[in-house]
Amino acid sequence: MIKTDILIIGAGPTGLFAVFEAGLLKLKCHLIDALPQPGGQCSEIYPKKPIYDIPGFPEVLAGDLVTNLMKQIEPFQPGFTLGERADTIEKLDDGSFIVTTEKGTKHHAPIVAIAGGLGSFEPRKPPITNLSNFEDKGVEYIIRDPELYRDKNVVISGGGDSALDWSIFLTNIAKSVMLVHRRNEFRGALDSVEKVQELKNLGKIELITPAEVVGLVGTNKVEEVVIKQGAEVFNRECDHFIPLFGLAPKLGPIADWGLEIEKNAIKVDNSLDYQTNIPGIYAIGDVNTYPGKLKLILCGFHEATLMCQSAYQRIFPDKRYVMKYTTVGGVEGFDGSKKEAPKSVIKSID
């Protein structure tokens, strides 16, 4: 069981900055994120795109913002559970919470701060009517263990980097690799596109374009894919069908935690501290809603700051505290590091 003071769900910019503000109050944080890396949308969707409305930064790349936030919170040694989605929450008699991921990792904290953005990123699924019948029975949306495909006939569909890269990789493992894409053009790194071309010429990848997988056939597992190419429809034998159409965020299991939901977001008390209808659970950043809400990173930073002050009061109801400026108080890390403004000296000059 992982224990912490504030359990943050979502490691995007808002969740990361909450670690800093909590650290100033000597509160430890642990973050859970469904993605394998921190940064949320900034890392997953647009790392190379510029952001122009972070105060003090006329222009910053989303990926660089995440790198800087990670550096800023380093002294506060946050814990991370990455690549796992927060699934269930349980409130204990003492008011604290246990949050369990879909992989069974348990986290215990007196405060839960949901900074989940638009939700956890889940694979986009193509509109094939019986697709869900074959999930984990030959249909996989994410490749977790490439060994699963050893000596198998694999059909991959999609036109982006992951479809290209996995097609290339699996040629060394699978018995056969077929790549089906709706266009003749692919959107990927140039060397990946060229490599697929080369493997196609060598007969190691069968490329079917412009075409679509429109159906699946099988009794207990996938046995054939139905492919539509122009007016022609034909079946091809396969052991695995891997649709790789990117990821899209879904609010997911958090929607069933008993929180008040409005407009696909969690309602919070913005006049006070961004707490939800369940005391001890806060929602900050893009995941929350209140009158006048704006989904901006800078607003998430503000919400994270106020949330931490309220969380401190909740954890230590009898302690008195006033907010300190970092310029005055410096930053004392949990790792023993200390940053502070240089002190002036009193010294006579001869």
Binding site: I45, L118, K125, P127, R182, E185, K263
Partner: protein, 109 residues
């Protein structure tokens, strides 16, 4: 500075005629959101970067639209429910030439 009239058929099939400003650098996705014709969180998920296709719409009228960019084209090549007249709403900015435009929102994925 003028407004143009745009007809939007929402995902329930209901037709709405709305006024869209030509002077605010707004796109079709933002017009849909500003009139709350699709629930928040189901449209414009990537914020308008042609990277999610949640604002896909079908163009029903014969207006001359800005040419499809490489990014938009590639996103549509991976999206679901794509038709000949599919476009990403976030890539179509409101201009005076769009007076009378008619669009239908593609299903939520």
């Amino acid at each position: 500075m003028t407004d143009v009239k745009i007809t939007i058929i929402d995902r329930q099939g209901v037709k709405h005629q709305v006024d869209a400003p030509t002077d605010m650098n707004m796109n079709l996705m933002e017009i849909v959101r500003s009139y709350e014709l699709a629930p928040e969180g189901t449209i414009g998920i990537c914020g308008g970067m042609a990277m999610c296709a949640s604002c896909q719409c079908y163009i029903l009228s014969n207006h001359a639209l800005p040419e499809i960019s490489y990014d938009e084209d590639m996103m549509l090549s991976e999206a679901s429910n794509v038709k000949e007249n599919s476009r990403l709403g976030c890539q179509i900015f409101i201009k005076e030439e769009l007076e009378g435009l008619e669009i239908e929102l593609a299903p939520e994925v």
